[in-house]
Amino acid sequence: MKAVIKGAGYILVHVPDMVLRNGTTQTTERIVNPDSEYLKELPKHLRSFEEVCSYWPNQVYIGNKTPDDLAALEADKVRGWADLKCDVTDRYGKFGQIMPQQQFLLLMQACDVFDLLKLDAGFVDKYKAEFAENPLITEDITARIPETQTEIAEIERLVKEEHSEGLYMNDVLVGCIKRAHDIDVNLSAHVMHENIVSKASSVLSILAAVKSTGIDKNEVEYIIDCCEEACGDMNQRGGGNFAKAAAEIAGLDNASGSDTRGFCAGPAHAIVEAAALVASGTYKTVMVTAGGCTAKLGMNAKNHVEKDLPALEDCLGGFAVVLTADNGIDPVINLNMVGRHTVGTGAAPQNVIGSLVAAPLEKNGLKITDIDKYSPEMQNPDITKPAGAGDVPLANYKMIAALAVKNGELQRADLATFPAKHGLVGWAPTQGHIPSGVPYIGFAKDDILAGKIKNAMIIGKGSLFLGRMTNLFDGVSFVIEANDGNNQAEGGVSEAEVKGLIAKAMKDFAAALMEQAE
């Protein structure tokens, strides 16, 4: 049995107040340099929701524009795409949506099961109708918002006296998250805030993936969360199960689940695991999901402010991918072609790329140039270049190309054209695990089905050393390829479905002929 990519959901949440209050660059600065010019300047560099919706990379992330559209743009040498206004500014896209902060605070409250998140009654009155109208928000989620809310005086007291984490809208206190325990640091208000944000954005991602794939929620038998947060108490800090917690709110009643971690490599690990669970026949439909990360909001904003750019790291990111048993149509994950960075691989960049790219291809008798598109770390260069980290996807493509030259699979003269031919420009927010290979999966499925490409390699890399438990690096890769239509699961596609597909193909063909004749 093979596992196929049924589709994916991608969401962004615009949270300017969390950039100021919860991003670690800002919280650190507030401790070491409370009167700094940077903290005074930063608010002036925050974007409005409309500006966020008209930013090209964001429109690519939710699927209204394609990576090819982005690559075709003429980016400014210094300011990138920051000053360009996308001709599509819709907050809803075919993969998901960009949610504004006021709606997200309500979604967070709907995701709180311990009566920790308090909102000002006036704030809720103002935005509840708008929240309920969001096409991804179901009635049962809206019903989780308590009828009785809190007076602002009580919220102020909770923040002042009870160590609660404030929730702000346009720099005005509108709510708070209480600590879940008086002593346990793992249940502190700060940690609960981080975790509820992660959970809520994961819920939104799941709902986006359900909508974009058209699956029945009850089909999902297993769900893997691959974000980078840890939930637990003082007796087990990373005890977990964000996956089931989010699935509960999203209404995946038939799903069990668990969490997989590996820093930014988490999503690629999780998708390989999910594909293996489907391929083995253990579960028919598995979802992989991850919410966003408050700590990384405005992570490089010092550089952005210094260079008079907008604070581009103003959105949480989320994604969810649906894998199902082979239906004979959708692109397949080839589990014989998994790249692994092992303990013995080492940290040398050529060994890392060798283990993730060249080794699995070689095992299957393929060359580096046999893969049509590579999706390594798809960080938006507008964010990373001003911060001195360079254009991360481009650096990856140069490494892959250099390895191909070294292996005699590519002419040195073709080094310069390799990135455009086999690569993509980055459009994902620097939310750690979010840009790591997975943003292309939705497009890869479409591009393979449309015959634009025959295969794509997704590469996740993780900085394990940041946890101070090892100095090792990490990485994993897998290949998505066109479905040859053989070996589909029993009952994968009914005869009627096949007939329908053939009829549609003939209709399209006839229409094309007519067009030509005209």
Binding site: A347, E377, A395, F465, L466, N471
Partner: protein, 43 residues
Amino acid sequence: MSILAGKKVVIIGDRDGIPGLAIEACAKTAGAEVVFSSTECFV
């Protein structure tokens, strides 16, 4: 005079440049004593 031989070397590698461990392997061959090796991450 050599730069590295006999010196205490502190390594600040970069995840998107050269990682600490790769620099460490090189520095040791130059007769340096690596006292600290770390890798930074901006993404």
